[in-house]
């Protein structure tokens, strides 16, 4: 069915995408909160920066990550010298690239969920004596949850599919950074790789369709909640 190399690429893809989404979720919630609930100078700038990965060529993002997070870059160099941590050519760098590309999608979904919450419910909780933190964890977050799940799943699918940023930043290292997209790319150029490439394409398709379907189901629950609230 699938060769060892292909299974490796699939497992790596899933691992990288999961790490990417899990690690950036808290930040995404924070940023979505800022954009939905707060007014501050530079808000439009933040909004623009967050959405850049959606409009910039992925190779540009990858190049930016290379310059910043490569072992010769300011952040990457510091990480390498202080902790011996290397991002380039590793799965953690691949997760970073995927996370950056998927971030705007997560933020958008969570922000939408936040904006749909009835502030009256939160005010009611405050009048009943709940602290702000309490309100967040017992009222806001549960109402946000379907949006978080939906955003997380879409981000997962986007992270799975990233190519340009990944290959520019962390290169093509089978077993470390060769995710599904990179494996398919390599195979389409290898003389007899078409059959293997086709298999991986079908798997990638199945994963993407599955993720989008699950995301849509989660989004429907949001609408149900809004209806009830």
């Amino acid at each position: 069915m699938l060769t060892a190399v292909e299974i490796e690429a699939l497992r790596l893809s899933l691992q990288v995408a999961l790490v990417a989404v899990a690690a950036s979720l808290p930040l995404a919630i924070g940023v979505a909160w800022l954009l939905a609930r707060c007014e501050f100078p530079g808000k439009t700038l933040l909004d623009t920066v967050v959405h850049l990965p959606l409009v910039l060529p992925p190779v540009v993002i990858g190049y930016g990550l290379l310059v910043l997070f490569g072992t010769q870059g300011p952040v990457g160099g510091w990480l390498h010298e202080s902790f011996g941590l290397r991002l380039i050519f590793t799965r953690w760098g691949a997760a970073l690239a995927a996370a950056v590309m998927a971030f705007p999608l997560m933020v958008r979904a969570i922000r939408l969920a936040l904006e749909a919450i009835d502030r009256g419910l939160e005010s009611a909780a405050r009048t009943l004596g709940a602290s702000r933190l309490d309100v967040f964890f017992t009222v806001t977050l549960p109402l946000m949850l379907p949006g978080i799940v939906s955003g997380g799943i879409v981000a997962f699918a986007a992270a799975l599919g990233d190519f340009g940023a990944t290959i520019t930043f962390v290169g093509n290292v089978p077993g470390e950074t060769q995710t599904l997209s990179l494996a398919i790319y390599s195979l389409t150029q290898t003389p007899d790789g078409d059959a293997a490439a086709a298999r991986l394409v079908l798997i990638a398709l199945a994963l993407a369709v599955g993720a989008l379907y699950a995301s849509e189901l989660a989004a429907r629950r949001v609408r149900l909640y809004i209806g009830r609230a």
Partner: protein
């Protein structure tokens, strides 16, 4: 609201109108060439244009990518490959114009390191590749599964006994120039590229030259493609093997037959 609309219409017309050129004679000859030929070919194209006024269009990439694109119908008139195998690939499929295939150039395979690193190695069987990489370093070359430089690199390292270790630390680049860039940036501890690429860069230094008998002879076949055969294409191909052109090839470090 009349003026803005008028200006917009003008802008649209300017963008969408086909561009007319002064000497709108023949369409430019499209050349698909291996990435390592880029600098020399661009120089030669400039000379050719000065001499004949004819413009050329280039696409530089790994020979593997280009050969596959040609196979799928890409409109190239000339193909310059970095190894015979990819030219054979097209010849087997009857895509070459008969009698136009010729292998003019050779090259050498070198091990490069970032320029700041002072390293000189004798690349002989059993040489210490692990020392070159360090404990967690990686090296880079074109993907050995299809890129010519990667294939030569795998052959050379296998002959010298370093492939089993090397294979586990390899970063596979799409073409030799991407590999060179990783070494230039200091991200890869070492790389295997052509001597001509090392010469073209000031940010890498050659740590050693692979013995010519450790890998298949590096040979650059050129040919005109049957589907876009033209007098202009054949003329440029002739130019590429002229005495003046040979000077340029040698100047860039290519071996010339």
């Amino acid at each position: 609201m009349k003026l803005p609309a008028f200006l917009l219409a003008l802008a649209m017309i300017w963008l969408l109108a086909p561009t007319a050129r002064a000497s709108d004679a023949a369409p430019p000859v499209t050349v698909f060439a291996a990435a390592s030929l880029q600098d020399a070919l661009e120089t030669l194209a400039r000379r050719y244009r000065e001499q004949t006024g004819r413009a050329l269009r280039f696409s530089f990439a790994s020979s593997s990518v280009l050969a596959r694109q040609i196979e799928q119908g890409a409109p190239a008139a000339i193909f310059a490959s970095a190894d015979e195998r990819w030219m054979d690939h097209l010849q087997e499929r009857g895509l070459l114009a008969a009698g136009t295939r010729a292998s003019l150039l050779g090259n050498r395979l070198v091990l490069v390191v970032p320029a700041a690193r002072a390293l000189n190695l004798d690349l002989t069987p059993g040489f210490d590749f692990a020392a070159v990489l360090g404990s967690d370093g990686r090296w880079v070359t074109g993907d050995p599964s299809h890129v010519p430089v990667g294939r030569y690199a795998q052959q050379a390292l296998t002959t010298l006994g370093a492939w089993p270790l090397a294979q586990t630390r390899l970063v596979r680049a799409e073409n030799v120039r991407v590999a060179l860039a990783f070494v230039e940036r200091g991200e890869a501890s070492a790389g295997i590229v052509y001597e001509t690429d090392a010469r073209a860069s000031t940010r890498v230094r050659v740590a050693g030259v692979f013995p010519a008998d450790s890998h298949a002879p590096i040979s650059y076949p050129f040919a005109v493609l049957a589907r876009h055969d033209s007098a202009a294409a054949r003329d440029f191909l002739r130019f590429l093997s002229s005495d003046a052109a040979r000077e340029v090839w040698r100047g860039h470090g290519f071996g010339v037959r």
